[in-house]
């Protein structure tokens, strides 16, 4: 770390006649911001600021947990919410830290980039007057070919060489700074990729039940939740349609999943309809979107025949409750039930709904509340029937998975019995209507996403890594050779070729590089012709290790 010394944080103020205070302040703040120390402090702040993001539940990771937290800590939660505690990574303070850090970063790399390009294009500097003052120094007899031979040896070892009269200057290891700049620039590009994805990306989640009648086309309305970037509008969504034909899941005897596969039919605009498979870890790649399999479950097929003999069928997904056996709960609602065929009128107090618990593998004996295995070995549907005004007309959007509890509390909906059904069984209700459990269909939980920044991210991460390695393992160093006659420096600059001439060599590691002494010694040996001139010098790392061996005590 010698070349990249920090620029002074507070430069000595030049006495001027009318110092522009504001300008000076700005310049000073900028210097301060772009110092490595500030970068370090900001890095630290960034790490600390991320901690609450793992301790508190986050809205965009698990919104349910945030709600839970609100009920558990009614006093604390709103205050934390105000501070952005449930959306740490989108909060003002987190953004402020990383924006400052990246400003500092850009302010830091631009001048270095300029300097480095200049350094890459300029020749190695003139040798210092006194080579014996450099960390490495040696005197050797002039090799046969003179200065040109020395330069040749150096060039063969991939040094950048300049010959000035009887002097040779050489430098090596520009890769360190190049890598460092690539690394830091890649960090900026990574952030740009993230921003691109944020602005132009979109995503949506939904459940998809098997069967052609349940196929889904990609529109905003078709998603239970959708997030559109600020620069996306609903018209931009690619118009593909997907039907789930089959879903296969294999499980181990312990109930642990072993493999999943979803077979779908895809219909993309302008393309032939095709069949495709996808699974966890291998998403379905579509034009302008990817489809990911996140979960799966069962949708019981429930047929209700009302008191007038009219049948309706509900095939709604039952949500899994999180246990290994895929116990799921849900609702079948029939708001149009009991329409009087004579008057054609509907009595909203005769709407029907069934809430249920579905157990793919019910236990041998009651209570039938927990499934024992995720496949349908002994399926059982535990239904509770409700009659009354379901509250679906009130204009309040209700959940398709849960009965509106307000309607029960106010007595508008009444429970009219419960029963456990096996597939194919039916249950006659008090008013002569029947409900049948016909079986189930599979459903899958899908996440559909489009992230235009992902390509940028991938490429910049590649550069980031390559740059990092160059930066960490590269070592910049200089060597100088000067031909002298009779062992004393020759100020005349003439090139002596007589056998009695000597060469003085000096070496300067410009970065922390303990192996330099070894490399220098090898180089001198190669130049003077003894040793193994054509064998390449040991790699830097080897050199450092060897040098390190002697540092310890024993």
């Amino acid at each position: 770390m010698t070349i990249l010394d920090e620029r002074p944080a507070t430069p000595a103020e030049a006495p001027r006649r009318r110092p522009n205070r504001l300008l000076a302040l700005l310049r000073n703040s900028w210097r301060q911001l772009t110092s490595m120390r500030t970068a370090l402090v900001l890095l630290f702040l960034l790490a600390i600021a991320a901690i609450p993001g793992s301790v508190l539940p986050q809205r965009n990771v698990s919104p349910e947990k945030v709600n839970e937290y609100f009920t558990e800590h009614p006093d604390l939660a709103p205050r934390l919410d105000q501070l952005g505690g449930f959306d740490v990574f989108g909060s003002v303070w987190f953004s402020a830290i990383y924006l400052l850090l990246f400003t500092s970063l850009i302010g830091c790399i631009t001048p270095r980039l300029r300097d480095h390009i200049r350094a890459l294009r300029s020749k190695p500097p003139v040798a210092p007057k006194r080579l014996d003052r450099l960390p490495q120094h040696s005197v050797l007899p002039l090799p046969a070919g003179g200065v040109a031979a020395i330069a040749e040896v150096l060039r063969r070892r991939r040094w950048r060489v300049t010959v000035r009269g009887n002097e040779v200057s050489a430098e090596k290891g520009y890769l360190k700074e190049t890598g460092n700049l690539i690394f830091h620039t890649s960090l900026v590009v990574v952030l740009a990729g993230v921003a691109l994805g944020h602005w132009y990306g979109w995503s949506g989640n939904r459940l998809l039940v098997a069967g052609e009648d349940k196929s889904f086309c990609n529109t905003r309305q078709q998603y239970a939740e959708a997030k559109l970037g600020p620069r996306v509008d609903t018209g931009n969504l690619p118009g593909f349609c997907v039907t789930l034909d089959r879903f296969d899941a294999r499980f181990l005897e312990s109930g642990q999943p072993a493999s999943f596969n979803a077979a779908v039919t895809v219909d993309e605009p302008g393309k032939a309809t095709r069949a495709a498979d996808f699974s966890v870890n291998s998403p379905l790649r579509l034009d302008g979107a990817n489809m990911y399999l996140l979960g799966h479950g069962y949708a019981p097929i429930i047929r209700y025949t009302d008191r007038y003999g009219r049948s309706q069928t509900s095939i709604e997904p039952f949500l899994t409750t999180g246990d290994m056996g895929l116990t799921s709960e849900g609702m079948a609602a029939f708001p149009d039930a009991n329409l009087d065929p004579k008057t054609g009128k509907r009595d909203s107090n005769l709407q029907m709904a069934f809430t249920g618990l579905y157990l793919p593998t019910a236990p041998d004996a009651p209570p039938y509340v927990r499934s024992e295995y995720p496949t349908e070995r002994k399926p059982m549907l535990n239904l509770v029937a409700y009659r009354g005004n379901l509250g679906l007309d009130a204009g309040i959007p209700g959940s398709v998975y849960q009965l509106d509890q307000r309607q029960i509390r106010t007595g508008k909906v009444k429970q009219v019995g419960d029963k456990v059904l096996k597939p194919g069984e039916s249950w006659k209700l008090d008013d002569g209507s029947t409900v049948e459990f016909l079986g189930t269909r599979r459903y899958i939980t899908l996440s559909v996403r489009h992230d235009p920044g992902s390509g940028v991210l991938l490429v910049s991460c590649g550069f980031l890594l390559a740059g990092l390695m160059g930066s960490l393992f590269g070592r910049r160093r200089r060597v100088f050779f000067r031909v002298t006659s009779g062992g004393s420096p020759d100020p005349t600059g003439e090139t002596p070729t007589s056998g009695s001439s000597l060469v003085e060599a000096g070496g300067l590691p410009r970065t922390d590089y303990p192996g330099f002494a070894d490399e220098f010694a090898q180089l001198v040996a190669a130049v003077s012709g003894d040793g193994r001139p054509d064998e390449p010098a040991g790699t830097d790392r080897d050199g450092s290790d060897r040098a390190g061996t002697r540092e310890g005590t024993d």
Binding site: M1, L4, D5, E6, M36, R37, A39, L40, L43, F44, L46, A47, A50, I51, G53, S54, V55, Q58, N60, V61, V88, F89, S203, L252, S254, Q256, P257, A258, S259, F260, S279, V280, N281, S282, P283, N290, Y292, L294, S447, R449, D451, S454, L457, L458, C461, L464, L465, L468, M469, L472, F473, P514, S544, D545, G548, T549, E551, G552, T553, D554
Partner: protein, 329 residues
Amino acid sequence: MSALSDQLVTFAILAYLVAMISHAVEFALGNARVRAAVSAPVRERELVGAGAGAPGGTILKSTEPTPPVAPVAGRAAGRARLAGLVAVVATVVAALLHLVALVTRGVAADRMPWGNMYEFVLTVTFIGVAAWLVVLAKRPSLRKLGLFLTLVMVLLVATAELVLYVPVVPLVPALNSYWFVVHVATIVFSSGIFLLGVVPAVAFLMRRGYEAGKRSFPYTLAKRLPAAAALERLTFVLHAFSFPIFTFAVIAGAIWAEAAWGRPWGWDPKETWAFISWVVYAGYLHARATPSVKRNVATWIAVLGFFTMLMNLFGVNIFFTGLHSYGGL
């Protein structure tokens, strides 16, 4: 097969224990040697008044190796060298047992042995000890660090066996991917190197204090340690070696997360802590490259980085739930 693996782990712990005790004996005899040497004539010495913990309150000014002068000291030194040798041999034996335990575990599970926290800790510690043996082969002078290393090994492997143990089970489908293997292999590898890296880091902090004249409790332990500069250098080399691997591992994890969950990065607790560790280690490398930051400050950052790794390994699996919660607890 899995029972064999479990037994081998127990034996490995015992072997680490033997190594640790031998290192401790070497340490103790080393002190004896100093004491004996002090009594020899012509030695320049320095009296340190309140040398709490330093036997006799007298220590040598020179931190360089002291050739045994008195015959008593010679015998002690010989015994110390023997203890050191035993320690190294025991470490090698322990590492071999450790390796075979991992292999049999993998064979029993029919996959790479890093599907849950137990296996993960077992693998990380193995990488740590293997890397230590490489360092030791290259720089035998650092042998005395083995005391700290074996201490860490005993603690972690025993924690794995006593607290984290789970029977062999296959992987859940989300974990069944090439990127998973790449991701976890590199995470395990870099964690192992970071684990090893924290040993010279802590040793450096103690030794530096010792060289600066501190003679209170933790610093006196550093009396027989290698020179501070060498420890600091080793700390840096290990971290600089590990950091790009860790960076790659995090990137591989993001690629895998994209395929499995549809997003490369989602601030799941595990991801958040990986981010924190990455930033802290970047901070360490940065601090070390910043001239105005002292080396011990930088080294503290490296130690802090290791705590964030531990937090990710244990804390996140135990305290938080997220997509990564397959720790098996």
